[in-house]
């Protein structure tokens, strides 16, 4: 036990005790090495033999202060054979406590170890707990959640497979803006407070290298999670991230095509009409998508029309397609919402309308007929008002047919103060984005593509001064250069 103490208590986690940040950095690094890779086998054996004592030992130092040591012991205990006398729950509880309270700076010194712990979390806990812990860990490492890591994907997979999306939402809702670049190998002082998450996460080894497919898969799972919660706007955004993923050669991968199909349906569910592709999607990609999803395009274009029968027929006719694409339940959702959107669209025509009129003018896409009695319509509408889908008010009359629906304005008027606050929020967020743009600009400035571009530009300038008369040549070269750069960007 003394051996353990002599190893684990050598590190003082208080930054103030060190003369400089650099000194802390050095100390933390050597400590991390001494408790992980350089840990004497004897110490490991002691920990495995006397788990309780080992835990108590580290409990003397709080996990939020000595994160490095704590993680090392927990890792050994979780993986090593522990004596049968020691209850597994105890170790798991200890790990849980650690995961909730670890120090986000110190953890950077034991990144790979921590990441492997996160990777295996689903083996130790039930999915629900694991998702909660993962999302907590991701946000502790990077409070903005804006850097994509391999843990993101693991969490999304786990959350979606086990259908426990609620605890993952905090991470899923965060906007991902950065992707790690494997080439960032320069040695960083990991405790530097000015360090951005997109820099320290890869440097600390807190993520695996990420592939483009992982990015696509993550956003796909994100979209599926939102779809299962019927959160159409967010699902649509997530799907747009997949279908708009930059491609080098105008191609469209299978996952992108699948997402395009879902995106059409989700867009219809969200707005009641076919969605518009974002502006950054090139026309060639657009036409590829169009060609790939004729059946879905038909559904989307039939949705805003009066053709309930045509919609139903199209649905029945292509049932095999929907099943093959595993979109059947989404399609059913579309059919159910058809009549709801018909009702919503009535607000453009009526200020007040009777329930019986609604029954006569709207068709259900499931039967291609009107609803059977006014009571059903009344139910449908009160359901819509309750869910917030329809802004309006019911005036119940003596019978269902004599009840009236009054449509409210689509948007509520805000007070000036509320409006100003909202504008200020947008302003602040755009300001923040501007900073991030600058950071990205710097990052781009250090890429080889850019260096090459500058070099060529210089060469061109030299050439220009040599024979300034050849304006035509210059133009051609300019165009060449543009295509070259755009092609690779």
């Amino acid at each position: 036990m003394d051996l353990l103490k002599s190893i684990f208590h050598t590190f003082n986690p208080d930054v103030k005790a060190y003369p400089s940040a650099k000194a802390f950095d050095t100390a933390a690094k050597s400590y991390a090495a001494s408790v992980t890779t350089n840990l004497p086998p004897a110490a490991r054996a002691v920990i495995l033999q006397q788990p309780l004592e080992a835990i108590q030992n580290v409990q003397l130092v709080d996990s939020s202060t000595n994160t490095i040591g704590h993680l090392a012991i927990i890792d050994i205990l979780l993986r090593g054979p522990t004596p049968a006398a020691t209850p597994r729950e105890l170790i798991l509880d200890e790990a849980l406590r650690f995961l909730l309270r670890f120090d986000p700076v110190q953890i950077r010194y034991v990144g790979p170890l921590f990441k492997s712990l996160l990777d295996d979390l689903s083996n130790f806990y039930t999915p629900k707990v694991a998702v909660e812990l993962l999302s907590n860990a991701i946000l502790r490492i990077d409070p903005s959640g804006s850097v994509f890591t391999s843990t993101h994907l693991n969490m999304a997979k786990l959350a979606y497979d086990a259908n426990c999306i609620e605890p993952a939402l905090k991470v899923l809702d965060a906007d991902i803006l950065y992707y790690v670049r494997p080439s960032a190998s320069t040695r960083l002082e990991l405790n530097d407070t000015a360090l951005q998450p997109q820099n320290y996460i890869p440097a600390a080894g807190l993520t695996d290298t990420v592939k483009s497919t992982s990015v696509l898969e993550y956003h796909f799972l994100q979209a599926m999670a939102y779809i299962s919660r019927r959160d159409w706007p967010k699902a649509q955004l997530a799907l747009e991230r997949v279908i708009g993923h930059p491609a080098k050669d105008k191609g469209v991968s299978k996952i992108m095509a699948e997402c395009y199909k879902k995106w059409l349906l989700v867009g219809v569910l969200r707005d009641g009409k076919p969605p518009n592709l974002p502006s950054y999607i090139t026309s060639s990609t657009r036409s590829i998508y169009n060609g790939l999803s004729e059946a879905y395009n038909n559904i989307a274009s039939l949705f805003p029309t009066d053709g309930a029968a045509a919609l139903k027929e199209e649905f029945e006719k292509r049932r095999a397609v929907w099943e093959e694409d595993q979109n059947l339940s989404l399609l059913e959702e579309v059919l159910v919402s058809y009549q709801k959107w018909q009702v919503i669209n009535l607000r453009r025509i009526y200020h007040q309308v009777s329930i019986s009129q609604i029954r006569e003018t709207t068709l259900s896409a499931i039967t291609a007929e009107t609803l059977k009695d006014d009571g059903e319509v009344l139910m449908l509408i009160s359901e819509m008002i309750e869910s917030g889908m329809l802004k309006g008010e019911l005036q119940i009359g003596s019978t269902a047919g004599e009840s009236y629906l009054t449509f409210h304005e689509e948007y509520n008027s805000m007070t000036e103060a509320e409006f100003a606050a909202e504008v200020a929020r947008c302003h602040a967020s755009i300001e923040a984005l501007t900073k991030q743009y600058r950071a990205t600009n710097e990052r781009l400035g250090t890429t080889k593509e850019y260096a090459r571009h500058v070099l060529r530009e210089q060469k061109r300038m030299d050439k220009d001064t040599a024979d300034a008369g050849v304006g035509f040549d210059m133009n051609v070269e300019d165009e060449d250069l543009m295509t070259g750069v755009l092609g690779s960007v």
Binding site: D161, S212, T213, M256
Partner: protein, 475 residues
């Protein structure tokens, strides 16, 4: 007609004429004899036949006239068509007896004439006299047109163009071709041929005559294409001082007044109607032929919409019997009606549906459905209050509109900025998808490029990464 049907199918107007969906049962005001006097040429038969097909009270008279008209010419197909129709409606009339002798005689005469003209033309060709060749072609074309072989006629007329030498020739050639295109209901061809002749410079008097023809012909063609506003503008510019004989192969002055007036009513606003139609001296001359059109327009301008509509309604059977107007009447009438309703509603913030019914609805016919359609189309900015039976004008709150728009723009900007930042970072990290040319090392986002390209500006090995294909096994 039958010959043209086989050559130019698919036109809307044709479909109407062939299978008369439109059946007029009320007695129209027109008198067949007086009506048909206004026209010359092949349009007479077409007009008579249309009346015979569509108008129940007049059909026997019209078809008899059509049979006589056909027999006065040499188009056997036309005679057969008219005879067949007449036989089905009035088998006892003397004209309903098939005149086999005439048919045989005419067919024989036609064949001989064709052969004769073709031989003559051959002779002219051998002699290489341009003017004779042109005249030969013209004669042949006229003959083919007379006997109903429209595509042959068009060929012959087209050949005239090679040998034209004066502006008059160009004009004739264009007119012949336009005439064929009229019979085929090929409006685009009419327009292109009329366009060719309208640019010709010639003497003043001639110019005026040509102007009248080109305006009327292109106006009718634009109407046929459904381009109502342009048609109205064109017809409004027709020169009234030219004798109707210049254009009565196409339309009569009455027709110019009706087409121009109705289309203007359907497409122009009140100020334009006052300035360009009622105060237009030259078009006034035409309107005098059709006083009720003028009445309807001035009633509309003065805001008496229901009177205007009832006048139009009373003339509906007549207009439905016009070959060029018939397919468009429902559209034109509903456009005028919509305009009336919109104009009627402008001064009010809300109107009871009952008063709208009184102004625009007929007996047992409510305007509500029409209102719904108009609101849906966006032509009427109002909402219906079904509980209080009101039509309420939409008065958007400008402050709300500004707020909503401002926030929407701000949010969109924010979202797009984020998305673009994200995309830039994807590119920086080399995470674009690419389906071709995988690198064996794969798996690493944006693998390092060889240093080679860094030195020379030559070939760039693309920074590819893993395959883009992903199976959706966990979807």
């Amino acid at each position: 007609m039958a010959a043209s049907a086989s050559t130019q199918p698919g036109s809307d107007a044709q479909a109407y004429a062939k299978s008369p969906d439109v059946i007029v049962t009320e007695l129209p005001k027109l008198d067949i004899d007086l009506y048909i006097q206004n026209y010359v040429g092949r349009t007479r038969y077409e007009r008579l036949l249309l009346i015979g097909k569509c108008c129940v009270p007049l059909r026997v008279d019209a078809l008899k006239a059509a049979v006589i008209e056909a027999k006065s010419g040499s188009d056997v197909t036309r005679y057969k068509d008219a005879w067949q129709l007449l036989r089905s409606v009035a088998p006892d009339e003397p004209e309903a007896q098939r005149d086999e002798e005439w048919i045989e005689k005419t067919e024989l005469a036609n064949r001989t004439e064709t052969a004769r003209l073709e031989t003559e033309l051959k002779g002219y060709r051998n002699n290489l006299i341009k003017e004779s060749i042109r005249m030969g072609n013209e004669d042949l074309g006229k003959h083919f047109e007379r006997i109903g072989k429209l595509s042959e006629a068009a060929d012959a007329y087209n050949k005239m163009r090679h040998d034209v030498s004066t502006t008059k020739h160009i004009f004739d050639c264009g007119m012949h071709l336009a005439s064929i295109a009229f019979q085929r209901r090929d409006w685009a061809t009419v327009l292109s041929n009329v366009g060719k002749i309208s640019n010709i410079q010639s003497g003043d008097e001639e110019q005026a005559q040509q102007q009248a023809y080109t305006k009327v012909a292109s106006g009718v063609a634009l109407l046929g294409l459904g381009n109502y506003y342009d048609a109205a503008v064109t017809l409004l510019h027709t020169n009234p001082n030219v004798s109707p004989t210049e254009y009565n192969t196409v339309a009569s002055p009455n027709d110019v007044a009706i087409y121009g007036g109705l289309l203007a009513l359907a497409t122009m606003d009140r100020v334009a109607l006052q300035n360009r139609v009622l105060d237009n001296q030259s078009f006034r001359t035409f309107l005098e032929h059709e006083p009720h059109i003028r009445k309807a327009i001035s009633l509309f301008v003065n805001g008496r919409y229901s009177n205007c509509l009832s006048i139009l309604e009373s003339s509906r059977p007549d207009y439905l019997l016009d070959i060029y107007l018939q397919p468009h009447i429902p559209t034109i009438y509903s456009m005028i009606r919509e305009k009336c309703i919109v104009q009627y509603f402008i001064p009010f913030s809300c109107v009871t549906l009952d008063s709208l019914d009184a102004a625009f609805g007929g007996p047992n016919r409510s305007v509500e459905l029409e209102l719904i359609r108009m609101i849906r189309d966006g032509s009427l900015r109002a909402r219906i209050d079904a509980k209080n039976k009101l039509l309420v004008a939409v008065s958007p709150d400008p402050r709300l509109v500004v707020q909503t728009n401002a926030l929407a723009v701000a949010r969109k900007y924010e979202l797009e900025a984020k998305e673009r930042l994200r995309r830039m970072n994807i590119v920086v990290a080399g995470l674009e998808t690419s389906s071709s040319r995988k690198q064996p090392s794969g798996g690493v986002g944006g693998p390092e490029l060889e240093e080679a390209w860094y030195e020379d500006g030559g070939n760039v090995p693309p920074a590819t990464d893993q395959a883009a294909e992903v199976d959706l096994d966990d979807a």
